[in-house]
Structure formats: C-alpha cells, structure tokens
Assembly symmetry: C2
DNA sequence: TTGTAGGCGTTATCAC
DNA sequence: GTGATAACGCCTACAA
C-alpha cells in the first residue's frame, strides 16, 4: 500500500490552524509572521506526519522551479563530470537540482535541449558548450533566464563566466618547455571558434614571444575538434612538415585529448616521448597520469569551476541584473614524465 | 523584455474555443475526441503563439512529473557517463528527463538524494548503487515508485535490472588466460556486498573449475572497493604471499580500476606486464586502451545498459506490476597487450 | 463534439 | 498574528 501523501492541509488540521498559517510557519522566510507557539505546533505536526512539501505545487504558485539546466557537449568527456559534481553539490545545498543535457556539439540537439529546459521552467542555465558566438545566449537574455558560462567566455564578456586562465596556463607550459632548453616548440591548437581554443592559441603566441622564441607557422596546426583523432592528424601533419623527421622538439597541445593523439602519432612514427619529443597537455584529465609516459599538463580545479559557477548562478537568480562577474581560476603546471630536455644536437 | 508566457487559455481564445477543448486538441491522447477542424485551428493557434505547455501545472494535475531519478555512486567514474547518456537519450525520446544524483557510496547521502527525488515526485528511479541489500528498494516499493537496477541485481531478483552477464564475462577472461597457458591465476575480487563483486568472484571460481585449474585461496584477494588504491593494496598482498616473487602468472581483476592498481603495483615490484604477469580487467573503461600495455579486458555495451534500463523503466511507469524483466547483456573479450603466455619455466 | 466546473497543493493578498 | 480567498496552468468527470 503506497504511503498516503501528506499535504499542507493535513498538517494544518493536526496543528489546529489554517493552511495559510501552516504555510507561513513552514517557510523559514515567513516564519517570523507567526507566533512562536503556533510555529512550533505546526512544525511538530509536520514532523509527526512526515510532511514533504510538494515542490510542483510550490513551483506553480511561485513560478520558480528550483531547477537549473546544465548544457554540456558530452558527459563522456571526463573533463565535465567533476564540474557537474561541483555544480550539483553547490546547488543541492541551496535546494536546487540540475538537469543535465548533452548537446554533442550539435546545434539542433542544443536547441532541443534548450527548449526542453525552458519548457521545464528552469530558474537558470549553465552553458559549457564552448562556442564563442552563440544564438542561445541572446535568446536566454530575452527570456530573462540567468545564464552562467563555464569553461568559456562570451565574445563580449557580457555573461558571468567561470573559466581557467587559459593564456596563463599555456604560458606556464611554454615556459616549462623553454626552461628545459626547447626552442622549436609546436602548438596543436584547438578549434578557433571555441573560447578555449582561441585563448590557448593566443597564450601560446604571447608565451613564445616573451620567451624570445619564434612562432614558426609550420609548427602551429589547428585541430577541428578536441579529440584524440584530431590530435593524431595534427601530429602527423607536424611530422610530415619536418620532412621525415619533426621540425620541433616539443609539442604544446591545447588539451589532453590532443596530447593523447600526439602519443599515438609518435608511436606510429617511431619517435619516443620524451626522448625525441616532449609533450604538454592541458586539463589534467582523470587517468592522464596513468599513461606512459605520464603526461605533463596544466591542471585547474574542475570541481571548483562547478561550485563557483553554481554560486554565480544562484546570485543571478536571487537578483537579476547584478554585476557580471567573470572568474578566472588559477592554472597549475603538473610536471610528469612527458617532458625532458631536447635531444642533444637538436639545435 | 521577457517573452510573455503563452497559456492554454491564450491558445483557446485565439482558436475561438474553450480551454478544455484546446487541451483535448493539444494532447495526442485525447485529440480523437475533438473534430478534425477544431483540432487544426487549435494546433495552428498554438503554433502561431508559440505555445509551450507548462509541465509544472500539468504535473500538479496529473501527478506525473515526467522526471526520473538516477542514483549513481559517482559520476566521476568513467563507467557511468555512457550509461547516463543512454538513459537520457532514451528517456528524452519519451519526453522524460533525468535527475542525476551522486551518492558517493554513502548511505546518508543516498538517503538524502532519494528523499529529494521523492519530494520532486519522480515517476521512476534508476539505481546504479550496487549494494546487494538495500533499504531503499523496499521503501521505493512501498511508495509505489517503479525502480530499475543497472549494473547490479537485487538479492532476490525481484527488481527489473540491466546488467552484463558478469559470470560469463569472467569465464571469458579466465579461459583466455588458461588458453595462453596460465595455470596459477589470481583474482582480485570486488567487494562481496556488491552484486558485481560477488558475481564476478563466483564466475572466477566456476571458470577455474571448468578449466580444470585449482582455486588457491592464497591467490584470491578481496578488495574493499573498486578503486585503484585497493588494486594496489591487493596486488601487493598477492606478491607478498608469493614470498618475494608472485605465486601467480596472471591476475584477473574484478574491474579495470583494480587492474590499473595492478599496473602500479607491478611497477613498484619491478615486474613487467605481460612478460612476468598478465593482467585482465573488466569494463573496458574509456582510455583504458591507452595505458601501457593496453589492457586486455571484458567489454560490455555501457550505453546500451542505459537505453535498455530506460526502456524497462518506461514500461514499468506505463504499467505498474508488469513482469519483472532482467536483462543480461553479452560481454565481449577484448584482447590487448596486457596478456601473454606465462614466462617459461613458471610451471 | 464541446462546455462547465472543480481541484491538484501551495502561497500571495487581502481582511479581521 | 491568523483566517479567508483566490489564483498559478492544466486536466477531466460530467453535463449539455
């Protein structure tokens, strides 16, 4: 026999008060409006009956769903789960739940998920889909839905965002390589229509310049996506350009996936890492330290990206039109086995 | 300026009918009750106004939220995201969304998440938290909430479940090793209070017997959790028992995480895989093929676990008390570089 | 085939 | 401080 659902009315009856009063007593915000004595009676009654407020009814009345939508490209990418965890944990603390939607980098899917979430009256949206230009942003604004961006920025910095300081991260990677003695450093850049791809590429150029190294256009390849396959393809390109043997002694990849692609391509070309070529990634994905060699990479606090984003979103929900905060989280260089001084005689 | 929310009433007015009629026309289930002509007018009006039914109001009325809860131990474990994807995709096709909750293997957290989901009136629950005995199961039954188990079974097979055929999977692993010539095969078993841990252990014993090999109790170690750390600990135990050098030539680990732990412990002990010791995992986690050596393991269709579970759940929601289906998905042996014949003279 | 009326459980706005 | 009342948007007996 299913448990009978206990309603506010039941509580009110047991406490001998009107439902409206019970409502006031139960809601911390309005509890001050009722006498301490009544409040206690109501609370006791609620406790005794095992009362659970019906969030659906509440939503209908208050027009707030205590639900936020999270749009991510692909939950299978190990980069995202920790961020989602961070979001969920912080949101749960505030009584919110997250609706996760995967977009698979597909505009149509993204649109569908977005509509679905609007229909469900989410109180806010977290977007991790990293394209720089984004029709959804304008639409969310028009619909007056608070939005926070994670792992990316909007083109004009007009949305609250939480992201790692990409340029600084790449600078750390390049300085590390330069410090080891590398002079011919290649970059496998990410897609330039994505915020991360662009800023890391910029960071690379800046870093090379400030290290007094030339940016050889032959040593920069642009990946079409942040995937292992693209990493392989770009690495091959790099090696081919070197006319049989690579024209570089180190590769700074725009993320770990691309770096894994480097590993595969190096194998294929009979090159050893780090003896022949050093590789640096970006993200410090889970398990990336288990590869051979363990990947030197740039870490940033994924979980914290989630918690901070949740915080920003909650602030926006509480008070629309607050200041647009943009948070840059500090990157950290994690030196592992994939980087070493260049092979002797490579200058 | 925010878009004005369009209600059913607005549509009705525009179509020149009563809201009730509009409701009937809009709902595919009841559309037959309304004249074709009226239906068209209503649909057109809805289209023109950009009408979106308010799912909150609908839920309040119908007592169905079109939401299902998914309880998983930890989204960070790469095993789960593909399952979650499968769930979400199949659910979305039926107009449902998934609420993901992490339990971190913690009873209190699990309880909280469960309550939270009950409060939100989920129409069903998917449990991936793998303990064999489970107070929540009884409670869900009492509350008449349909439940589907993934990646696990209930003690008495009384709940619909989708899982890989664990025993068969382990038999495949053991046969593979036996076929390579291994006779002293160790097992790092998972926690025995979890369905996967238990059935894989059973599978190991059965497989050894049917291969005509002895199960040496010194060569079976029980992990307290499916973690890399536990894998390391158990491997060390195994090596110590061998009095300086391992008494086995192969290890069948109850999952990939534990196998990764083997790798680390082998390194530590100065042993080579597969030259000294072969290792087999279970799950074929993402990126496990990128390790050195790439791990031989048992694969099963994670994504499909999700879609099938969603299907089962939808069936249960549509019709309580339907038959309890238990789906065993076929495992597949993926041979990679971590298994080879035992070193000569090891017999 | 369509309209009427009532209510799902809660809270906001009155009045007392 | 508390009670009465209405309404959030939708669905569904029941009546017409």
């Amino acid at each position: 026999m299913p448990d009978a659902p206990v309603t506010l009315r039941d509580v009110a009856v047991r406490a001998g008060v009107h439902p409206a009063t019970a409502s006031r007593a139960l809601n911390p915000e309005t509890r001050i409006l009722v006498s301490e004595d009544t409040a206690r009676r109501v609370l006791d009654a609620a406790e005794a009956l095992g009362y659970r407020p019906n969030p659906v009814a509440r939503s209908l009345r208050t027009r707030r769903s205590h639900t936020v939508g999270v749009l991510i490209p692909d939950l299978n990418n190990p980069l995202f789960p920790p961020m989602v965890r961070g979001l969920e944990d912080r949101l749960a603390a505030a009584g919110y739940v997250a609706l996760i939607g995967n977009t698979d980098f597909d505009d149509n899917r993204e649109r569908m998920v977005f509509d679905q979430m609007r229909a469900r009256h989410v109180d806010g949206l977290v977007l991790a889909t990293a394209r720089l230009r984004h029709p959804l942003l304008a639409e969310a604004s028009r619909a007056d839905i608070p939005v926070v961006l994670i792992n990316r920025l909007a083109q004009d910095y007009s949305f609250p965002s939480v992201t790692v300081d990409n340029e600084r991260g790449v600078r750390m990677a390049v300085s590390h390589l330069a410090g080891l003695g590398h002079r011919r450093i290649a970059h496998i850049a990410g897609p330039q229509e994505m915020s991360t791809g662009l800023s890391r590429y910029r960071g690379f150029v800046t870093a090379m310049e400030s290290s007094g190294l030339p940016v050889d256009s032959d040593l920069v390849v642009f990946a079409k996506a942040f995937t292992v396959e693209e990493g392989v393809r770009c690495s091959r390109l790099l090696f081919e350009r070197g006319a049989g043997r690579p024209g570089c002694t180190a590769i700074a990849a725009a993320n770990d996936m691309l770096a894994v692609g480097c590993y595969a391509a190096l194998d294929e070309a009979g090159l050893a890492c780090p003896e022949d070529i050093s590789v640096v990634g970006f993200n410090d994905m889970p398990f990336i330290d288990r590869l051979r060699p363990p990947l030197t990479t740039i870490r940033f606090p994924h979980y914290q990206v989630g918690t901070e984003a949740a915080q920003l979103l909650l602030e926006q929900i509480a008070e629309r039109g607050g200041p647009v905060k943009i948070l840059y989280l500090a990157p950290e260089l994690i030196v592992r086995g994939s980087t070493a001084p260049p092979p002797p005689g490579s200058a």
